[in-house]
């Protein structure tokens, strides 16, 4: 098969939707470009939704496998990214279902597991911060959210999707996305404040 096009051309990168069209017209190379463009982002989202114990790479492959099979029938009603995230989320949910009841990681369990230190025993929440474990504390807090809230928090805060894109990916109304996010942020606020977590926020002045 002769390769007529240069793989490293200087032409402006085609949009996802253009690549999808090329794929649908029979150019399999277009799908590979889409993989190159999205696999890291999808892996990041999966990792944040599923936590470190699940192999994000594995689930990412499953996502692209499903996308490859369904791309022939992809309609341009939604953006490709929303569609891809939708598949990734379904893959995650399937895995969670198969895990039977995924042990909801509560703060108490994390404390028992030594992931987060309880008050007065081991390193205190303040120690956690001082030990630059803020990242882990935030991860644990997000992980402790109910699945629906965790999904929107991850898609909004870490994947930077718009409300519309999230609504398309989750197939729910925009107002539902906003409500879930609002509740999720509220819970995170409570959890993080309870642990004394503050990222780069100046301490309140002791004297007025």
């Amino acid at each position: 098969m002769p390769s007529q096009e240069k793989p490293m051309s200087k032409a402006p990168a085609p949009s996802d939707e253009v690549l999808v069209e090329e794929f649908q017209r029979g150019d399999p190379y277009a799908f590979d470009v889409l993989i190159g463009r999205w696999d890291r982002k999808i892996q990041g989202a999966i990792y944040r939704i599923m936590g470190p114990e699940e192999d994000a790479r594995d689930l990412c492959q499953e996502t692209f496998l499903k996308a490859y099979r369904a791309l022939g029938t992809f309609k341009k009603e939604a953006r490709f990214s929303s569609w891809l995230y939708q598949i990734a989320l379904n893959v995650c949910r399937d895995r969670l279902r198969r895990r039977k009841s995924r042990p909801q990681v509560s703060l108490d369990e994390l404390m028992e597991a030594g992931e987060v230190a309880p008050f007065g025993r081991g390193p205190s929440p303040l120690d956690l911060i001082e030990a630059r474990d803020l990242s882990r504390a935030v991860a644990a807090a997000v992980e402790s959210l109910p699945q629906e809230q965790r999904e929107v928090v991850v898609l909004k805060e870490y994947q930077g999707l718009t409300f519309l894109e999230i609504a398309q990916a989750l197939d729910v109304p925009i107002s539902t996305v906003k409500t879930r996010l609002y509740r999720g942020l509220g819970q995170l606020r409570v959890r993080l404040e309870r642990q004394g977590i503050r990222a780069a926020t100046p301490l309140p002045a002791l004297t007025p």
Binding site: P28, R48, R57, F64, Y158, S175, Y182, L185
Partner: protein
């Protein structure tokens, strides 16, 4: 309550998705409602806190990163060898290798993609010359998965190759620059030498004339 009616608008403002009318509505409400103002501030703080969660280096994939180390190391070693030992790269030498590597990967990748497409057709037709055990659907699933893994691997390998190509180009550019500088320095030196030589000739000439003149007297 009244505040709840602003909740969605508040979310739009929080994430910069509010249009002018919405933003104005929220701001007017905040001017009158301390509770919502405080809540908004709290949500902004949480958003800032959330930025602290960094992805571990292992996401991207661990195994791929081990593989990734090889081309990087090779490229870095090449730079060190070229610069440190003063080894002069022939123009285009390193780049050509990388180009060849890229071309080989590209060919292999295209072949795999073609095979993948070919594999999909008989799966749909449900009568391919497939191995007896496993059944065609399971077989095609496994095949697809393997292909997909290969594709993701290749996608990563090509990214590596692109980085290596860029590194090689940088090495070459540095080498060209070095040789250009050397040429300039040596041109400058020979100019100085030329000056010195001419001065010597003139001085010798003068001395000769002085000697001649003194002998004539």
């Amino acid at each position: 309550m009244e505040c709840e009616a602003f909740r969605e608008d508040q979310m739009d403002v929080l994430y910069g998705e509010a249009d002018a009318a919405t933003a104005r509505r929220v701001s007017e409400h905040h001017a009158a409602c301390a509770a919502c103002r405080e809540e908004m501030a709290g949500l902004r703080r949480v958003r800032r806190d959330l930025t602290a969660w960094a992805l571990p280096a292992s996401v991207g994939p661990r195994r791929a990163q081990e593989r990734r180390a090889a081309p990087w190391l090779a490229a870095a070693a090449a730079v060190l060898a070229a610069l440190g030992a003063g080894y002069a790269l022939r123009p285009g030498g390193g780049g050509a290798d990388v180009e060849a590597l890229l071309a080989r990967q590209e060919t292999r990748h295209r072949a795999e993609m073609a095979a993948l497409r070919a594999a999909l057709v008989p799966a749909a037709a449900a009568s391919g010359p497939r191995t007896a055990e496993g059944g065609p659907r399971v077989g095609s699933d496994e095949l697809l998965l393997r292909r997909m893994q290969a594709m993701i691997r290749d996608s990563e390998a090509r990214q590596d190759a692109r980085v290596s190509a860029r590194l090689a180009a940088l090495t070459e550019e540095a080498e060209t620059r070095r040789r250009y500088d050397l040429a300039r320095v040596s041109a400058g030196l020979s100019y100085l030498e030329g000056r010195t030589g001419q001065d010597m000739v003139r001085t010798t000439e003068l001395m000769g004339r002085v000697l001649q003149a003194s002998q004539q007297k």
